[in-house]
C-alpha cells in the first residue's frame, strides 16, 4: 500500500463546501448570503468559525497524511519503534489549547447571541383609516398545518392577547404565506402556532425560530433592499411539512405604505355575472373555513379544521403564491396561472398532500367545472395584483 492518504480529497471537499455554497446564486434559501443586518451578524460569526474548523481540519488531516506517509510499516526494519507511553506536557497542552480556543469563540458567540435576542425597533408611520399612526413594527406569525398566517395589529401588541392562538383577536391585516415588510427597519415577530410545532425561517434575513402552540416566541427580521426572500418551515410538522414554505416581500417604505392601504380595505362586491355566481358558491361552500373581509368577517366556523383557521382570502390576488407558497398564482408574464388554481379547487389534496378527513388541510370540494370557473372569476376580484417585479421574483423555476 504505497498510497498517500487521500486527505487532499477531503480537504478539497471541504474547500468546496465553502466556495460552492457561497457562490450558489441560484439558491434562494442560501444561508451564507445575508440580505440584512441581522443575518449578516450571524454570518460574521459563522465565517470565522468555519475558518477555525478548517484550520483544525488541516492540522488533523496533515498529521494523518504524515503518518500514512512516514510511519507506515514498509518492512524495512524489524525494530520496534520507541515505546512512548505518553507525554504529560503535550497532553495538558492539547487539553488547554482547544479550551482556550473555545473560550475565545464563546465570548464572541455570547455577544452575538445576546445581540440577536435583543430588539431595537423604531416606530414606522403607517396610514390607518386615513390617519397616520406610528406603529411599533411587530407582526404576529402563526403556523398551522401547512401554511403560515401573518397578522398586523397597528395599535401595537401590548393589549393583544395571543395566548389562545386558535382565537386570536381581530387584526388590521391578515394575510397568508407572504409577509410584507418595509426595508431598512427591524421588524419584530411574535411567533406562535395553532396546532403542532413549526419553524419560521427566512435565511436571508435571520435564522429560525420555532412556532410552538401556547407559546409566543419573539424574533426579528430586517431586509436591506427590496426583494422577495424565500423561507421554509423547518420543524417537522407532519404530512406536508416539505410544502410549507413562505416568502417575505420587502418593499421600500413608501411602497409598504401603499400596500398597507390596499390591504386595509374589505373586499369589493364583484361585478361580472360569473363572479357573482362564484361569490354565491364561495359563501355556500368555502366561507365555512375561509374569511373574506366584508363578506363573512367573523363567521367562519373553525370546527371544520383542527387549527380553527384557513387562509384569509380578502386580498388573495395581491399575493403571488399560495398554499404554503408552493404554487405560483401568476404566470411569469403576469397573467393568472389558471390551470393550477383550477386544479387546486378541483382537488386540493391531490395537489398538496393533506389529511382532509382529519380536518387538516383543504378538502376536495366536489365543485362542478362550471362552479370552478365561477369561483375562479370571483377569486380574481379579491385584491389587486402586485407589482410585476414581485411576480417575477417569486418565480423559482
Amino acid at each position: 500500500m504505497k498510497r498517500p492518504y487521500p486527505g487532499w480529497l477531503a480537504a478539497l471537499a471541504s474547500g468546496a463546501v465553502l466556495t460552492l455554497s457561497g457562490c450558489a446564486s441560484d439558491a434562494p434559501l442560501d444561508t451564507l448570503e445575508p440580505q440584512g443586518p441581522i443575518s449578516r451578524s450571524i454570518d460574521s460569526l459563522s465565517d470565522p468559525i468555519f475558518l477555525v474548523a478548517g484550520i483544525v481540519f488541516v492540522v488533523i488531516f496533515g498529521a494523518t497524511a504524515v503518518i500514512w506517509w512516514k510511519f507506515r510499516d514498509d518492512h524495512s526494519t524489524d525494530e520496534f519503534p520507541e515505546q512512548v507511553h505518553g507525554n504529560f506536557r503535550a497532553e495538558v497542552g492539547w487539553t488547554v489549547g482547544p479550551a482556550v480556543i473555545m473560550a475565545v469563540i464563546a465570548v464572541f458567540t455570547l455577544i452575538s447571541h445576546f445581540d440577536l435576542n435583543s430588539s431595537d425597533r423604531t416606530d414606522i408611520q403607517v396610514a390607518v383609516d386615513g390617519t397616520t399612526t406610528s406603529w411599533d413594527p411587530e407582526i404576529v406569525v402563526v403556523g398551522q398545518q401547512w401554511w403560515w398566517e401573518f397578522r398586523y395589529y397597528f395599535d401595537g401588541l401590548d393589549g393583544v392577547d395571543l395566548s389562545d392562538s386558535r382565537n386570536l383577536p381581530p387584526a388590521d391585516i391578515v394575510t397568508a404565506n407572504q409577509m410584507v415588510i418595509p426595508t431598512g427597519s427591524e421588524i419584530g415577530l411574535s411567533i406562535t402556532s395553532r396546532d403542532v410545532i413549526h419553524s419560521f425561517w427566512i435565511p436571508a434575513l435571520n435564522g429560525k425560530r420555532d412556532a410552538v402552540p401556547r407559546r409566543v416566541s419573539p424574533w426579528k427580521i430586517e431586509a436591506d433592499v427590496p426583494g422577495v426572500y424565500f423561507g421554509q418551515c423547518t420543524e417537522f410538522c407532519g404530512l406536508s411539512h416539505s410544502r410549507m414554505r413562505m416568502q417575505t416581500v420587502a418593499m421600500e417604505p413608501a411602497d409598504f405604505q401603499a400596500w398597507v392601504e390596499s390591504q386595509m380595505g374589505p373586499a369589493v362586491a364583484p361585478k361580472g355575472v360569473a363572479a357573482q355566481r362564484g361569490q354565491e358558491v364561495f359563501e355556500g361552500q368555502c366561507a365555512r373555513c375561509h374569511v373574506v373581509n366584508g363578506v363573512n368577517d367573523a363567521t367562519s366556523s373553525g370546527a371544520d379544521l383542527v387549527a380553527n383557521a384557513a387562509p384569509n382570502l380578502t386580498h388573495l390576488m395581491s399575493r403571488t403564491t399560495y398554499a404554503g407558497g408552493i404554487f405560483n398564482l401568476y404566470e411569469p408574464n403576469g397573467t393568472l396561472n389558471r390551470p393550477q388554481l383550477e386544479a387546486w379547487l378541483r382537488n386540493a389534496p391531490a395537489e398538496k398532500p393533506a389529511y382532509a378527513e382529519g380536518r387538516r388541510g383543504m378538502p376536495a370540494m366536489g365543485l362542478s367545472e362550471g362552479q370552478i370557473d365561477d369561483v375562479v372569476a370571483y377569486l380574481q376580484t379579491l385584491g389587486e395584483a402586485p407589482a410585476f417585479d414581485i411576480i417575477a421574483a417569486t418565480e423559482v423555476e
Binding site: 442560501d30 519503534p81 497532553e91 464563546a106 435565511p203 401556547r214 417537522f236
Partner: protein, 658 residues
Amino acid sequence: MTDTMELEAPARPLGAYTRPKANTGWRDWVTTIDHKKIGILYGAAAMVFFVIGGIEALLIRLQLATPDGTVLGADTYNRVFTMHGVTMVFLVIMPLAAAFANYLLPLQVGARDVAFPRLNALSFWIFLAGALFLNMSWILGDAPDGGWFAYAPNTGVVFSPGKGMDFYAIGLQITGIASLVSAMNLIVTVLNMRAPGMTLFKMPVFTWMILVVQFLLLFAIPVITVALFLLMFDRNFGSNFFNPEMGADPLLWQHLFWIFGHPEVYILILPSFGIISEVIPTFSRKPLFGYPFMVFSGIAIGFMGWGVWAHHMFVSGIGPISVAAFSVSTMFIAVPTGVKILNWLATMWGGRVRFNTPMLFASGVVSMFTIGGLSGVTHSLAPADTQQTDTYYIVAHFHYVIFGGALLGIFAGFYFWWPKVFGHLLSDKLGKWNFWLMLVGFNMTFGPMHILGLQGMSRRIDSYSPGFGFEFWNMFATIGAFIIALGVLAFIVNVVMSARRARHEPPVGPDPWDARSLEWFTPNPTPVHNFDDDIQVEALDEFWHRKYGEDQNGQVVRVASAEEVCQDGSATDTHLPSPSYWPVVLAAGLPFVGLGLMYTLWLCVPGAVLILMAIYGWSFEPVDDPDGPHGHHNDHGSDEPADDGASGTTPAEEAPVV
C-alpha cells in the same frame, strides 16, 4: 428489573423444570446463556437491521435523487425516515456495541462470563422482541411517522391518529428494558469479576469506554422511559402531558427526550472510541499514548454529556439565558474529544504502522469523526445554529459522527476480532475494498450534505422543487449511498468467502495481530469456558508484556512466542452454567403486552401468562443440571457468574437473587 426478581430458590430441583441441555443447533442458540454466543446473536441481529435501515436509507436517497421525487409518497417517506433513524440508532449501533461488549468485556477483564448470564440472555431477547415489535409496524401498515425524536404534539392522537407512534412509544420502552438490564449487568461484571491483579487502571480502554457507556445507559434510559410512558398515556389513556389544548407545554417532551438524547449520542460513539483505542496501538506497535488521559477524557465526555441537551433546542424558544448557557457548555465538549483524537494521532506518530483492514477503519474514524466533530462545534454557536438547525448541514454532522465515527469503528472491530470469534481472518483484500468503497461512498453521500444544508435544504422533506439549487448534490449523494451499499455488500461477501476459505486452511493461530490485551490469552476461537486458568494481571496490556521485554539498551525484544503465552483451551474442569429457556419466554411475552395496550387488552393475557410462567420457571429452575456437560464445581471466587445458579462460591441451596 425488580419485577423479574426471583425471591426465592428451591432447595431441590423440581422435576418439571429441568434445564435445557442442547449444545448445538438452534436450540442451543435460543437457550444459551454464554456471553460469547449472546454477543454473536446481538451482532447478527443488528446486522440484519442494518441492512433494513440501510434499505430505508436507499429509499430516502432514491426519493431525493431528483426534484419532486415520486418514488415514495409524502406519507410513506415520513415513515421511512422515522424508521430509518429509529432503526439505525436503537437497533443497529446500540446492539452492535452490545455485541462487542458482551463478547469482549468478560474476556478483557479475564472473567468466566458476565455477572448474570441469564439476565444477559434476557437482555438480548428483550432487545430482539422490541426490535421485531417496532418493525412489525410495517406489516401492520402503520409505521411511526413522527421523526426519531417525535416532537409533541405532532405525535399525539390528534395529529398522528394511526398506531404508528404507539409502536414507537412501546417498542422503544421494550428495547429500553433490554439496555437497562444489560447496563446493570455489565457494570457489576466490570466491578466485580476482574481477574486477580487487574485494577481499574489496568483495564483496557475498550472496557473503560463500555463501562462509561453502561453508566450513561443506566441513567439515561429511565429518562426516555418517563417520556415514552407519558406519551403512551397521552395516546392511550387520554392524559394531558403534551396536549397544549389542555394547557400542557410541548417543550416538556423536547427536554425529556434530549436529556436522554444527548447522552445517547455518546452512548453511540464511545464504544467505537474504545474499539479503535485497542486497534491503533496494536497496529502502530506502540502502547496507547496517554492511557490515563484517554480514560479520564472518556469519563469527562460522559459527564459533560449531561449538561448540554438543550443545544438541540436552540430555536425552540427556551429563552436567551438558557440558550447561552447550553451554547457555552456544548463548546467545551470539544476539549475531551480533542484529547482523544490527538492522543490517537500521537499513538500512531513515530510508530511502525501496519495498515491492515482494522487499522484502515480505525484511521478512518480518527479523520472522519473529526469532520463531524468540527461541524458539531459549528452548531454549538447558538446564533450560527439558528441558520443550521433542521437543515442537511445537521444531517451531514450526525452522519459524519455516527457513520464516520461509530460505524467505521465497529467495522474496525469486526475485522480485528473476527479471528477471536470465528477462528479465521477476514480477507484483507476484500476488506480493503470494503473500506475504500465505504469511505468514498460515505464522503460522496454526506459531504455534499454540508453544501445542501448551507444552501438551505431542510431535513425531513419528502421532496424539493427545482430552482433551489439542490439538484446536483442530491443526485451526487444518492450515487454515493449506492457506493456505500457496495461497500456493505463487499463486507457480506467477505464474511461468506472467508468462512468458506477457512474450511480448507489451517486455523489462524493464537495471535494474528500481535495484540495486547487479555482476550488474546484464549485460543481462537474462544473455547466455551474462556480461560483455562485465572490470569494474574501485572500490567496494562498484560498479554503484550508477557511476549515482550526490554534488553539492556531499552530496546523491545521478544521474550516469548504467542503460542507459549496463550492458553491452549484444554481445560475441562471448568463448571459451565446450564442454558435456560426462560429468558426467551419472558421476552416473548412483552410484545403481546404491547400489542394488547394498542389493540385490545385481551392480547395482554397471553403476554402476561408467558411472563409469569417465565418468572416462575426462572425462579424454580434447578440451580444446576446434574447431567450437564460439566458436573464439576471448581472454586472461582468472585469471578464466577452469580446467576447461573451454580457459581462456585454459592452453595447450591443458597441460590442468588437474580
